[in-house]
C-alpha cells in the first residue's frame, strides 16, 4: 500500500445523493449508522460494503466533529475512501425536531393493512425517530 503511506492520516469521505455530491472531505475517523447499529471507520479499514440505516454520520477531523443525518443507503469502503450513497443527507442544524415529531405522530396513528404498508410505516417511524434523536442531542 504505497499510496497510503505517502499520504498518512488521510481518510477520504464522500457523501453522494442522487442530486449532488454533498460532501467530499478528509477525516480521521468516521462513524456511520449501519442497518443494525453504528460502525466506526478509521484509516486502513478493510474493504467493506454495507447497508445503512437512518441516523447520524459523524466525521471527526482533529478536534472538529461534523454531524449529518443520512437517510439509509449504502456505504463502500476501499483504499481509504469511504463512499456513502444515500437518498438524503442533511446537516444536523437543518433538522427540525418538531416536524419529525409530527411525522412520527401521524405515522403511529395511521392504521395499516398489508405487509407493504406496514414496511412503509416502519420506515417512516424509524426515520422520524432518528431525526428527533439527532436534533435533540446536545452538541
Amino acid at each position: 500500500m504505497a499510496s497510503t503511506e505517502a499520504i498518512p492520516n488521510s481518510l477520504r469521505c464522500v457523501v453522494v445523493t442522487p442530486e449532488e455530491t454533498v460532501l467530499d472531505t478528509t477525516a480521521e475517523f468516521i462513524a456511520l449508522p449501519l442497518f443494525d447499529g453504528e460502525v466506526g471507520i478509521g484509516r486502513h479499514h478493510s474493504p467493506m460494503i454495507g447497508r445503512m440505516g437512518y441516523g447520524e454520520l459523524r466525521i471527526r477531523n482533529g478536534d472538529e466533529t461534523s454531524r449529518y443525518y443520512v437517510d439509509g443507503g449504502f456505504v463502500q469502503v476501499a483504499d481509504n475512501v469511504v463512499s456513502v450513497l444515500t437518498n438524503r443527507s442533511l446537516a444536523v442544524d437543518s433538522l427540525d425536531a418538531e416536524v419529525a415529531e409530527e411525522q412520527l405522530k401521524t405515522a403511529l396513528s395511521t392504521t395499516t393493512t398489508g405487509d407493504e404498508q406496514l414496511a412503509i410505516r416502519d420506515r417512516t417511524i424509524s426515520q422520524a425517530r432518528a431525526q428527533i434523536r439527532m436534533a435533540r442531542k446536545p452538541k
Binding site: 442522487p18 442530486e19 449532488e20 467493506m48 443507503g73 449504502f74 463502500q76 463512499s83 450513497l85 438524503r88
Partner: protein, 297 residues
Amino acid sequence: MANPRELDKRRKSIRNIRKITRTMELIATARFKKAMDRASAATAYTDRITQLVSDLTKTGLEVSHPLLEQREETENATLLVLTANRGLCGGFNGNLIRAGLARWDELQHVAPNRRLEIAGKRGIGGFRFRGHEPDQEFTHFEDKPAFDEVDEIAGRYLDDYVTGNLDRLDVVYMKFHSVSRQEVAVETLLPLGSLAESVSESAAADSASGGEIQYEFLPSPESILEEVVPTSFKVKLFKCFLDSAVSEQVARMVAMKGATENAGELIKSLSMQYNRARQGRITSELMDLIGGVEAIK
C-alpha cells in the same frame, strides 16, 4: 404600392418580437447551464451505484431479483411520457408526443390493461387532443426535478410492480447526448433487465485496470443486492427526468436562437421595402410638383 407606414408598423412589431425571443434565448441558456450542472452532479451517484453492483457481482453472486425478471404475461402496462410544461421549444414536445403515441398503440397489442401517465402540460394537451385521456398527469416538474418528487412516483411504480398491478413500465423522454444532439428515447424501465449489461461493461473496465478487492459485506451480498436494485431503478427514472429537463432547455435555446435570427432577416427585408416605398413616394411627389409647375408655366 406598399404603404410605408404599414411597413414601419410591421417592422416595429417584429423588433419587439425579436427582443422577446432574444431574452427567452438568454433565459434558456442560463437555465440550461444550471440543469446541466445538476445532471452532471447526479452522475456521481450513478457511477458509484454501478461500481457497487459490479463489485457485488464479482463475488460470484447470482444476480436475480423480481425487478430484473421478465414476466411471462404482461397484463398491466404503464406508459410514462415526459414532456415540457411550456411550448416554444421547437420540435421537442411534438417529437415526444409522436413517439409516445406510437408506443401507446404498440402497447395495445401487448397488454390488455394500459395506463397512460404524462408529465408536462404540453404532452397532456397533445394526447387529449388526439383523444387519449391520461390516467395521471404531473405538471409540477419544471426545469429542476427534485429527487424526492421522482422518488415518490418511482416508489409507487415499485409497489405496483411488486404487488402485481404493474408488469411493464415504458418511459418516453428526450435523451441528452450532447448540446447538439438529443433524441427521443423509448425505454422499458420495468422489468429492469439491463442491470447486468451495465455491470458487464464496468466489470470489463475494472478487470482491465486490475486490482481485485475482497469486500466484506454487511449484512450479506444478497440483502445488499435486494436494496440496490430498487435504488438503481429510482436513479434511472430520476436520470430520465433530468435528461428531459436539460433537453428542453437546449431545444428552447436553439429554437429561440433561430427565431431571433429570422426576425433579424425579416427586419432587414422589411427595412429595404420600407425605404424603397418611401423613396418611391418622394419621387412621385416630386413628379407631381414638377408637373404642377410645368402646368402653371
